[in-house]
Subunit: 226 residues, 2 copies
């Protein structure tokens, strides 16, 4: 296993237990971040909140992994990336999308974006749409058995994307050797707001590995690179 992909040492039961533990923590933090943008309480109350948050952080930091969460690869090739900036279960800065995958390389997600994802007033930041579409397109490639890392990504902004409930879709458009071309869009109440096309490339170390595979059971190959 190379390039930061580690074998997942946790049993499925442990992973389930951790999910049940960390999902509410991330949800609580997401609400806190939203309140931090919108609160108009007294200055003394803001200062008290900051001091208490620092205490909680200090307690959480008494034991922690040395760096980012990374990617834990399971025996079936699926990858657990709980720090991922879009879907990471433990990442309260991430919008926390839940993405539905179909085996033909089509993915979709319904999600809600609040005050933390604003660009122009009341609208989703254009770069947040790009962030979400990069993830959706990458997962479409993975879902279709064509995992890759983003080579190019092109966004077309058709209209403003309003904050609130949204839908995203992506699919594999075509394949060209080690390249996979994926497309997708975000849909708001008035229709498609942003369209994306991306070229995803199978990393060389996976291609090389595929030519001389190690034992797949001992060293599973990641089936996605988002």
């Amino acid at each position: 296993m190379v390039f930061g992909y580690e074998l997942d040492g946790e049993s499925p039961e442990d992973v389930s237990r951790q999910e049940a533990l960390y999902r509410p923590l991330a949800a609580a933090m997401r609400e806190l971040v939203d309140a931090g943008i919108r609160s108009t309480v007294d200055p003394a109350e803001i200062e008290r909140a900051a001091a208490e948050i620092e205490q909680i952080t200090a307690r959480l930091r008494k034991s922690e992994i040395p760096g980012p969460f990374g990617a834990r690869v399971r025996a079936d090739g699926s990858v657990r990336q709980w720090g991922n900036a879009v879907v990471g279960l433990r990442n309260a800065a991430a919008p926390g999308l839940v993405i539905e995958r179909e085996s033909n390389g089509r993915v979709s997600s319904r999600f809600t974006l609040g005050a933390a994802y604003e660009g122009p007033p009341m609208l989703v930041h254009g770069g947040v749409s790009a962030l979400i579409l990069d993830q959706l397109l990458g997962e479409a490639c993975s879902a279709g058995g064509r995992p890759g890392m983003t080579g190019t990504l092109t966004l077309r902004y058709r209209r403003g994307t309003p904050l609130g409930e949204l839908r995203g879709e992506a699919w594999i458009e075509r394949t060209e050797g080690v390249k996979t071309v994926a497309r997708g869009h975000i849909v708001g109440p008035e229709g498609v707001t942003v369209e994306a096309e991306g070229v995803f490339i199978l990393p060389r170390w996976v291609r090389d590995g595929a030519a001389a595979p190690d034992s797949p059971a001992a060293d599973p190959r990641p089936s996605s690179f988002e």
Copy 2:
């Protein structure tokens, strides 16, 4: 003032006081989010943290604005967007870039991305690079007196962008009527990692307004649309 741009009702002194109040709050929350991804403390401690965070949120929510922060336009046309997903002073989900502007439409920023911005293991999420570059290119247009909203954005990923200390730059490449073409890149320890080109378009309501201006003092025109 239309489309969610509101006059900034706060005096410069009040804005300074609020900056000094909210910047430490956002910094504390950013550390908390990082700890939420990386902590390995006991389950009971995680549950206690979640419960305490919920209490802080409830106190902050006792008084809050009804929706996202929006954009407050000052008399000089500058825009205060403290909820912005990249630069928002009060937004702990944002990486919190401080962007240096030059009047010729060149901007730059040194910033650090931690565990909350991960995509592939140890690397910046490709969509986070897109998010940051969208903001940098948009600010380059504004800095050069050519504000606009993103029409298209194209990213080329040259190599993985490592988490850690990074630099971003953007500039106006050329102008074509209401369109401004901006370019930029992110630079890591080994050179340029991601290149971006974007077309930014002056919104119609600004163009129409410019043809029949109201009193600029009573109703300043925003000089940026990020």
